[in-house]
Amino acid sequence: MITWPNFVSQLFNGLASGALLALISCGLTIIYGTLGVLNLAHGAMFMLGGYAGYVAFQATGSYVVAVAFGALFLVVVGAVIERVVIRQFYDRPPEDQILVTFGIGIVIVELVRLGFGSLTKTVPPPSWAAGVTPMGFLIYPTYRIVVLAIAAAALAALYIVLYRTRLGMIVRAGIEDSGMVGMLGINVYRVFMLVFGVGAMAAGFAGIVNAPVVSLTPDLGESILVQTFVVVVIGGVGSFPGAILGGLIAGEILSLTSMVNPAYSEVMLFVVMTLVLLLRPQGLLGLKGRA
């Protein structure tokens, strides 16, 4: 159903959902780029952030507290997981790393199911962002516009940390050559723990920010994980700007394809991923020979 109003609506929707995908994906890509670990528990962390925020919201009724708690809780969870489990796996083959993170994901999902059950939980949007906003011929949920702004701000903050701070410099150096960073006398393991925490935080933050848009179930992260992988592959594995570009592209593909034939929107995502892998295997913004 291609009409001019619908096209503009979908274009905007692609941007909004793409920004969120970008935010989740950048956590995945930072962890992979720095630690070399493909974190299959990333979807579960996204979900866990939502539930952590839900608990905080139930306790305080404050959206801001919920978002802050969801994000901080995941920093701690991420750091603990890195210290206790992931660290034992840096020198092991990639398939072991994939298996262990996959396992961690299952454990997180089932623990949440044990505690909260499968019935959905909802976090309402803050009262100032409830309802719809008329934007010309497009009516869009106000909170989704807020999500777009929050995601953009969070991505900008991450950019500043990565490209304008000493920590960011170490992280970026770690992506290039972690051995050399270690030789320069920097405690690489402490940085790794922090990076894993920040990566998990990006997922958790996105999880709680997204919570009022969806309804929370323990299985929430599963389908998101698949989409995030596609985003990272399109953008370039390990590349922070790549995750942002990939997220926006994925959001637009999902939205715009649905106008022509909704059944093909997911398929198109994989078609584009395949094309990227064929024509530019390192991803759109990935560097050759790295990752």
């Binding site: 159903m1 009409t3 109003p5 619908n6 609506s9 979908q10 929707n13 692609g14 909004a16 959902s17 999902v109 199911r113 499968s118 019935l119 959905t120 909802t122 719809v132 009516i139 869009y140 949920p141 909170y143 989704r144 848009v213 969806v214 309804s215 179930t217 323990p218 299985d219 929430l220 599963e222 389908s223 998101i224 989409q227 999902l254 939205s255 649905s258 106008m259 034939n261 909704p262 059944a263 929107s265 997911e266």
Partner: protein, 448 residues
């Protein structure tokens, strides 16, 4: 005849048993019925090994994780209650299966549970395990028609009986029907035929309809049936938004719906997909402009999205607990279910309970676990009591002839108790809403 516990048998015992053997051999025909039975009923599937002991096993695979997890758990509770009632000879079960005393043919029923994740491959793998390791005489489970269709074919191949769980696709007892599979619940065709007249009367003629459809056999057949039954009243389809099972976000589909100019939104999505798409339809302001219809009722939907969203919404269903005011068996079921699990059963649990009770009835009437004999007992079309009145199995496609219940969501102010979400508007008799048995291409296949 008793042999000495240790040492060689006593001479006297040997002589005695020899005499018994000789006498029986001399009686012509003594061995005949046994020999005849063995010839008529050669080993098939898990028969006779599965029922050789003093208990029989049922394999249950329901989704306990994923999009349909909530509905799967409710279904499982219905199965467990039925097993408990079969083994204890509960009055409710005996009202459905009058020959039941305790157990099935005197054998205790045991079961194993596995998580199908609503995935056909997983479900088939689990049931193979139940068949090979536990010699299951019956298996069940599906909250997705994709699973039901896969298990149908698996049942026919393995020659082990299968009662469908929740399955709304026309194909389950249509083109994918099998001799070894039986369905209790309502489905796309009956839902559409029963619901369409109510919709046309309440909403009017010549309406523009938008559909949200899950991308598999259930979604496609229900959508097609609804379209077919609404068309004569001038309803047109302006958009059909087909989405994958477990989609994380419905925004792009809903924007298409919002821009389609539809008057009515028919949401065929199921499980958590229905919850999410309905909530997001509200977020996009669609429900303020378009009337929501749920062609195939989703257990717990009203509870999850809240009564404000389901108020006024029409839906077709198998069962709703307030039917207890009309049907005594429904009252017995709702009471014993609530006593055991602490909440009012939804239709998934009712469907599950009835499926097992009907199987117990068929086996008791057959007098054997031999599958072809049990199938013939099902096919005899015996009228049995259910929680929605008298029902019977249609021999030609193994679809139960049963009423479809039309409900409408109550406004929060009209709810008399926290679970009082729906009002039963109409109970449409089953016969009139079913297609001819071969209309969807059903060919049942062989007994052996």
């Amino acid at each position: 005849m008793q042999f000495a516990r240790s040492g060689a048998p006593k001479r006297r015992d040997v002589l005695k048993s020899g005499a018994v053997l000789a006498a029986t051999a001399a009686l012509p025909g003594f061995w005949m019925p046994m020999a005849q039975a063995a010839e008529d009923q050669p080993a098939i599937g898990t028969w006779p090994a599965g029922s050789a002991g003093d208990s029989v096993f049922i394999g249950i695979s329901v989704p306990r994780t994923g999009t349909y997890a909530v509905q799967g758990e409710d279904e499982l509770k219905g199965y467990m209650l039925a097993v408990e009632h079969i083994n204890s000879g509960d009055p409710l079960l005996r009202a459905i299966s009058p020959k039941t005393t305790k157990g099935v043919l005197g054998k205790k029923v045991t079961y194993g549970v596995a998580d199908s994740e609503a995935k056909p491959n997983t479900a088939v793998q689990e049931q193979s395990r139940f068949i090979s390791q536990n010699k299951a005489v019956l298996f069940t489970g599906s909250t997705s028609s994709a699973v039901a269709v896969a298990l149908n074919k698996f049942a026919q191949r393995e020659k082990v009986l299968y009662v469908t769980g929740i399955s709304g696709s026309n194909d389950t007892t249509g083109k994918d029907c099998v001799r070894y599979g039986f369905r209790q619940c309502f489905y796309g065709q009956t839902a559409a035929a029963a619901l369409a007249p109510v919709l046309i009367k309440a909403i009017g003629k010549d309406k523009k309809a938008a559909y949200l459809t899950p991308d598999y056999t259930y979604g496609h057949t229900v959508q097609k049936s609804m379209e077919e039954y609404l068309k004569p009243a001038g309803w047109t389809t302006v958009t059909n938004q087909v989405a994958p099972l477990g989609a994380p976000d419905y925004s792009s589909y809903l924007l298409n719906v919002a821009n389609s100019g539809a008057d009515v939104l028919l949401n065929i999505n199921w499980g958590h997909d229905a919850v999410l798409s309905t909530q997001q339809a509200k977020q996009f302001g669609i429900l303020a402009k378009q009337k929501l219809v749920i062609p195939y009722q989703i257990p717990f939907l009203a509870k999850e999205v809240g009564a404000e969203l389901t108020a006024g919404v029409y839906a077709a269903t198998d069962f709703w607990w307030t039917l207890q005011d009309k049907f005594p068996l429904a009252k017995m079921f709702v009471e014993s279910f609530e006593k055991k699990y602490g909440y009012k059963p939804e239709w998934g649990a009712e469907n599950a309970y009835m499926s097992f009770a009907m199987w117990a009835d068929a086996v008791e009437r057959a007098g054997t676990f031999y599958p072809p004999a049990v199938i013939k007992a099902f096919e005899a079309g015996q009228h049995i009591q259910s929680m929605v009145g008298e029902v019977w199995m249609r021999a030609a496609d193994h679809q139960l002839v049963r009423p479809v219940v039309i409900v409408q969501g109550k406004r929060p102010a009209d709810m008399k108790s926290p679970d009082d979400y729906w009002e039963v508007v109409e109970i449409v008799p089953g016969e009139g809403v079913m297609q001819a048995p071969d209309a969807f291409g059903c060919k049942l296949g062989p007994y052996t």
